[in-house]
Symmetry: C2
Subunit: 371 residues, 2 copies
């Protein structure tokens, strides 16, 4: 999607989504018509089948595939559910409605074939992911809203959001309260009108986000502060990617110094195994990790907590994770396993409330060539 | 706080907070001066010491008290920490700064007496609650920000928020995106300018909040939709109470049909044991529970999950909870224990995506005399 024509592009994506769904149904029809047993082929979705796409710079599925076939009762039931879901989604797009994954799960109770009803929400979630993969569009294009809403933005950026109630022009400093601009479920309804930003700073915790805003970091450093709020919602990752790609802004990620936070960075930068089919849509491979780094724990003598057993396991599993196989991460993770400590972002307060904005971030960002 | 003078009242509260803190320090000084061992007396904070305040209509602490005295090393250390915290808070108010509970915990590392440093964050959190109780003001008045930010608002309401960057006038339908208006950490910075609302509808889940907004429920029913986002932050509860008290709007709460959701309602309506000293500031005792009710599970044949052991325990403990000792709740909880089922808000989608806004809520709200 380009920066200046989101409306027409949103419509294009929806039209493509609808066509892809109908095409999938038509394939089943043709298979029946030719006397073949209907089937659907998908990439195998395990860690061993993600590979690095050099061109896109993100992790994507490899060549291994699995086939869902109607040659068993179980397989036939799966395809029946897919057909019911396709019918519902095509109708939803026709009517310009939307729904959540959970609503889809419950809606299946009203479908006339009991065989087509989902047994668990895992089953309906998985089916929507399958449909994303075979159709090559995202579930947002099917008008499936996520449960978790996006986080919030504060910075020198003016946007236009298309809402069901008309367009809204919002400057993400001047037209919002201290809480900032709330990212909508589908950030492709946002058009970037104008900005004076130098870079995007994604922040894990609400406490640190509020510290940066109170200290005026977004104003002083022309920074768009994006609150991740823990593991970021798809909407937050998508918006971050668009800020990078369309406005040509560097993206840096500021998290706690523990293995779970490195995974948060990993999902922003490289995507996740679960959504590897969406990496090109959601991941920002150029994103850089600001901190907290294990080296910071040593250099700044930060207050720490000891690593738990599950922290150690998570760090060890990150050493095996293709997303973390760089010199930087290997060095930092080995160091952390060695010192056996972790530290939170807010531990920087041990050196005073302004240390993070007066010293830590400016020095680090200068080292990284961002400011 | 009255609707039309939030600015001066916010300043008054801060001035009062500062005075109360200094007074507490002065008391310790006087105790020393008279050759007494310094001490601080607080209400006992357990479930058996909350009583119903008939006048205010909320649960508050009873008459039992405990005393923190410097007559032991442990007690003396506690009071030392209190004095350091009082000094920090008074300085923070002087400089018009703010901080989070977690920052306070880390800041103590920079205090010059090692004896005054907090061992755990529980300890510093508890101390701030103690200071709220003895000073009679809220931690927001000390400029202690919560970690969790408030949720979001959509409805026919125009507000003015005082921010560090100047006042912002925002209409919570016309000037916001689909995500709505983000409640700031301290909602007492909000002034209500104008509204066309008939009632306030607090909604537990994001999925249901988005459904109501997509279906235009806030427009069709002149309703201010407040997203609770699970257990609501203090800011969300405070704003809800102010909407009720200052704009004279009825408040209804719409949650999942399980014991954890009844507790969410309980904390909106009656406050919590942990924050019983703040009930008059945070609780809206006139709030009514819309649903999901166990009776709805039966009447609408909703898709359900079986009660887990912890659900059953929670329901049984609610039967003993003074906040739930009404005919309505006893009947509903007994029914739920009997049918052994729970249901989510979004389970209403089993009757179609519009059932909740076309049928369920209008009928229920009419029964309750709200619409």
């Amino acid at each position: 999607m380009s920066a200046d024509t989101p409306e027409s592009d949103t419509r294009l994506n929806e039209e493509k989504a609808r066509e892809q769904l109908i095409e999938l149904a038509a394939e089943f029809y043709d298979q029946f018509d030719h006397g073949d047993i209907p089937e659907m082929t998908l990439p195998t979705r395990t860690k061993s089948n993600i590979v690095f796409d050099e061109e896109a710079g993100v992790w994507v599925y490899g060549d291994r595939t699995s086939t869902r076939s109607a040659n068993s009762v179980r397989g036939a039931r799966k395809l029946l559910k897919a057909v019911y879901a396709v019918e519902f989604l095509a109708q939803q797009l026709d009517e310009n409605r939307s729904s959540t994954l959970r609503e889809l799960y419950y809606l299946s109770e009203s479908w006339d074939s009991e065989e087509a009803q989902f047994n668990t929400q895992d089953e309906s979630n998985q089916l929507i992911e399958d449909l994303e993969i075979v159709s090559g569009v995202t579930r947002e294009d099917f008008h499936m809203r996520p449960e978790e809403s996006g986080a919030k933005v504060m910075g020198p950026l003016k946007i236009r959001e298309q809402t069901r109630r008309g367009d809204r022009d919002i400057h993400c400093q001047e037209d919002v309260g201290q809480g900032g601009y709330q990212i909508p479920n589908n950030p492709d309804t946002i058009e970037f009108l104008d900005n004076d930003a130098e870079f995007v700073l994604c922040v894990e915790t609400g406490g640190m986000r509020d510290r940066l805003v109170e200290n005026g970091f977004d104003v002083d450093y022309d920074s768009i502060v994006v609150h991740l709020g823990g593991q970021p919602a798809r909407a937050t990752r998508r918006l971050t990617k668009r800020l990078h790609d369309e406005l040509d802004l560097p993206v840096v990620v500021f998290c706690d110094g523990d293995p779970w936070s490195y995974r948060i960075f990993g999902s922003v930068a490289y995507g996740s195994i679960k959504s590897a089919h969406l990496s090109e849509y959601l991941a920002t491979p150029e994103a850089k990790y600001v901190g907290i780094r294990p080296q910071d724990i040593v250099d700044y003598d930060l207050p720490t907590d000891p690593l738990s057993d599950s922290d150690v396991n998570a760090l060890e599993s990150e050493l095996e994770d293709p997303r973390f196989q760089t010199d930087f991460w290997e060095e930092q993770i080995e160091l952390q396993l060695d010192i056996e400590k972790k530290a939170e972002q807010q531990a920087l307060a041990a050196q005073g409330l302004d240390f993070v904005t007066d010293t830590y971030l400016p020095e680090r960002l200068e080292d990284m060539g961002i400011v």
